[in-house]
């Protein structure tokens, strides 16, 4: 799936990923390939993206995530 992390200032991340872990309002959750369409609120915490053997992590202070057609867009 494709992942994009956007801030109003810049794009923090854009690329493919296998797993993305997000800090949800009610605890953290993961999104895998072919997830159903979803819009979720994010709390303060860490967003980590796993792609193959690589893992990247970003801290966010809340935000939103939209999942649609295997594309994940995180707005922070």
């Amino acid at each position: 799936m494709q992942v994009e992390i956007l801030t109003p200032d810049k794009s923090l991340y854009a690329g493919d990923a296998d797993v993305i872990t997000l800090p949800g309002i009610n605890g953290s959750f993961q999104i895998l390939d072919n997830h159903a369409p979803m819009i979720a609120n994010l709390a303060k915490g860490q967003v980590s993206i796993k792609s193959g053997s690589q893992e990247e992590s970003f801290s966010v202070a809340g935000g939103l995530v939209e999942v649609l057609k295997n594309k994940v867009v995180v707005l922070v």
Binding site: L6, P8, D9, I25, N26, P37, M38, G62, L68
Partner: protein
């Protein structure tokens, strides 16, 4: 002779002025590039926000959000006036000031008379002007352009939202120069609070799962989109400012060139007149000796 000297001095000073305006133009061109890049970088973010907002449109009549949508009796108004910190950018600031005055006089005359309009000035120039008039101004974010980024802009946005929610203001109006291209700015004013229409446009309805729920998402989304709107206004204004300065400095450089041309012509004429005079004096003197 003294005329020649005077013209020479003027030529020298015009040349140095021209060098300054040329340098300012180049600096503005670089800054314009940076500022317009920032606008382009925030576009995907704004577009996505709008898209999500469109998908949630039908749920916005929820009472806990109504504060942002409700049309209250407009007694107290906040203007967010975005000008620049520096001058020498043509009519840029004058236009903002003029529009603000027009709004005060034509759109909100009663509130203005009652002293219920506050100007939240971002950028020094508008504040400098309105300080001399009787209007209330709020200068807490005046120096925002010194380090403008999403964080500082959102801080200002949070302040506006809080003040509106607490009922300190019933309506918020944003006045700024919208960036079209380097040569064109469109002066805009829009009511940002209460929200009059939710972003429409092309969006498909998808069957989303909402986590934790539509309302919770809207509670985050609505303020976020207003803050984004304010931030966009600031970025637009910044890019417009550099564009306006670039154009006006280009004009100034050109004018200096024209002036130099006519000064050089005058200088040469004066020089030739002096030579002619000297020759005729010599010839006249020689003729007197012969005679």
């Amino acid at each position: 002779m003294s005329n020649q000297k005077e013209i020479r001095a003027r030529i020298a000073s015009t040349i140095s002025t021209q060098q300054i305006t040329k340098a300012m133009k180049l600096v503005s061109a670089t800054k314009l590039k940076k500022a317009s890049d920032a606008i382009i970088r925030m576009r995907p973010y704004a577009r996505k926000l709008q898209g999500i907002m469109g998908n949630l449109q039908d749920s916005v009549d929820d009472p806990s959000l109504s504060v942002y949508f409700q049309n209250r009796d407009v007694k107290k108004v906040l203007f967010v006036v975005i000008s620049s910190d520096r001058g020498l950018c043509g009519g840029f600031n004058a236009n903002v000031i003029k529009r603000t005055r027009t709004l005060l006089e034509d759109k909100y005359p009663e509130q203005n008379k009652a002293g219920n309009v506050t100007l939240l000035c971002i950028g020094k120039k508008a504040a400098e002007y309105f300080r001399k008039t009787g209007v209330k101004i709020d200068e807490r974010f005046i120096g925002l352009f010194q380090h403008l980024n999403a964080e500082t802009a959102f801080e200002a946005g949070d302040y506006v939202l809080d003040a509106y929610r607490r009922g300190e203001y019933d309506q918020v109006e944003l006045i700024y120069n919208e960036f079209k291209n380097a040569a064109t700015q469109i002066l805009s004013n829009e009511v940002i609070l209460p929200i009059t229409s939710v972003a429409t446009g092309t969006h498909q309805h998808n069957d989303y799962i909402f986590e934790p729920g539509k309302i919770a998402i809207l509670q985050d989304l609505v303020p976020r989109s207003i803050k984004t709107q304010i931030y966009r206004g600031m970025l637009d204004s910044l890019a417009s400012e550099h564009g306006a300065r670039m154009i006006s400095m280009d004009k100034a450089t050109e004018n200096a060139g024209d002036m130099l041309r006519s000064l050089r012509l005058a200088y040469n004429q004066a020089r030739q007149a002096a030579i002619t005079r000297e020759i005729s004096e010599i010839v006249g003197g020689a003729a007197a000796l012969e005679g």
